[in-house]
Symmetry: C2
Subunit: 211 residues, 2 copies
Amino acid sequence: MIMMTQHSIDAFLDRLASGDPTPGGGSAAAVMGAAGAALVSMVCNVSIGKKGCEAAEPELRAVLEQSERLRRRLQAMVEDDVSAFDGLMAAYKRPKTTEDEKAKRADAIQASLARATQVPLDCARACGEVIELSRRAGEHGYRHVISDAGVGVSAAYAALRSAALNVFINAPALKDRAFAARTVDEIETLLRRSAAASEAVYSLVRGRLAG
Amino acid sequence: MIMMTQHSIDAFLDRLASGDPTPGGGSAAAVMGAAGAALVSMVCNVSIGKKGCEAAEPELRAVLEQSERLRRRLQAMVEDDVSAFDGLMAAYKRPKTTEDEKAKRADAIQASLARATQVPLDCARACGEVIELSRRAGEHGYRHVISDAGVGVSAAYAALRSAALNVFINAPALKDRAFAARTVDEIETLLRRSAAASEAVYSLVRGRLAG
């Protein structure tokens, strides 16, 4: 078995478009988040060493270290999402004839649902961090590559909204209501903050392009 | 030379993150748009044949045909964006010693700029169509796969906004002011309409998930 991100883009998109349950929206979200992080890294990599960016170089290096760390995490989440979904499907297919089987199946479903809620929550959190990094890259990056910070923030925000949908699907079925409520609360806060933050970065980039 | 979309996702993201000028935000936009189209296709492919979706089947088949056509176009645009950008860089690097060289260089730059404006315009148009298809998939698709329409619309909208930035970069340097003005006008209209349309689809999907 090769990892999902070892497939070519063409092959990944063919699988995404197919009627197979995985990869689905959760994996697409992680890919978009990773692309957002990669674009923040690109802005830093192009800007470091460019004339006019000298003063911002320590800041750009700090952003780059974090964006590459987040990119690695998000690339790994593409696979995590597939295994979380497959795990949930396998739990639902467990035998349920005897009382013992029913109890074990219910436990397996709850454990899988918790993972299928946690993975998109982690994805959304990472994307929130990418949005914040894209602001710093957009403020300090070399003007000729600044549009990539605007693409990066758009990708990260789309990924965050996408991950949120997977939390909204899975959280209602969780028996651990405290974890479900905490998670939905955190996602709602992330959605609200990231809407304003990503608009601000996009406007900043448009402004720097025009000026 | 292999095509950009024949690279693995890991390799594409490594190249995106690097300091090399291509692939950049334009290619990332086309990949996101293609992922949006693929997710619309997935909703249709899963829903067709499902109990409760019988009445919507002709509609879902029509959406699928269009989403797959748009996906193929957007996947091809990943490469188009790279060649448009490389063409522009090559034009700027042409010799400019004699008057004849200067004139030929200026013509080459204008031709390359026109292409580097047209490719993201086409990308934004295709993404606008994907957003409209995601609405139809979100309305008629099987409820258990409906979140993928919400991820699809988020990806397509991010791609449209990203493509718009590349139009805003290149249009100001065009000597054909009529083409530049027409293009910027069209992009502004696409941005305005797609903001409202994509929010409506996302809300529709959240509503169907909750109910």
